[in-house]
Symmetry: C2
Subunit: 130 residues, 2 copies
Amino acid sequence: MGLEAAVGRIRGCGYKATPQRLAVLEAVAAKQHQSLEGIRARCPEVGMVTVYRTLDLLSGLGLVRRLDLGDGSRYELAEDHHHHLICEGCGGITEFEQCPLDMRGLPDVGGDFEVRAHSLEVYGTCGDCR
Amino acid sequence: MGLEAAVGRIRGCGYKATPQRLAVLEAVAAKQHQSLEGIRARCPEVGMVTVYRTLDLLSGLGLVRRLDLGDGSRYELAEDHHHHLICEGCGGITEFEQCPLDMRGLPDVGGDFEVRAHSLEVYGTCGDCR
DNA sequence: CCTGCAAATGAAAAGAATTTTCAATTAATA
DNA sequence: TATTAATTGAAAATTCTTTTCATTTGCAGG
């Protein structure tokens, strides 16, 4: 999603597209899986409080996704559906698009439970760390 | 895993099986997916600091698992391999054992990346909330 | 069954992280 | 361009977590 599309989404939901909000969004977009600290460093002109509030807002709008991979919160641009490969050696995070799930046959799924989304994290050791 | 087995595991790793540690472990075991607050309520005789330290220890020993399902940290007894079905309506959490993953064919997996574990959370709406 | 000692505990303090408050500013509509 | 409600940011408040350190205790060895 481009910047203008994001502006549209923000305005479309009745919020203002302020420079601070766009700066935070761009900071998140600059690199996937950043911590709050990393994001803050990329938009130092935006006050801390506003960063917190904006990440909440953008998460609520579905523009940004909050991750928890074991170390505090991280954020990523919510563009495509993907999962994470996390190396326990170096902490590196890789994304992969291919979705190895087959929900058919799950007990409740398809019956009572209506699936909206899912998240999958795979932990292990990457080639370099082995 | 029974209580004695847990005591064995704690002692076996060179730690003391104190009443506080057992109380925290039992508190976690009383109900899956409890928040810190919930656990604390089940062992009010144990100091807050000790609860924090004990959960760290038990996680490290692999007796307890820390979850993050969107709202702060939750804890569960690390017994069997299972995944979570999370209802976004009522917040209810259901476990399911069946593992709908087929990792074969994943790009890096099986090649460079050595998988140790994975976690899968499925979000949606349960029957009651529909 | 005692004893000694390193490990563990808990209270208080320190330190982080996050949220609230509120006056001043600003985006967007008419 | 004027108006207005939303937004911002600084400070304060609150909440969460960790550190410190004196006291207590589990448990291995005698």
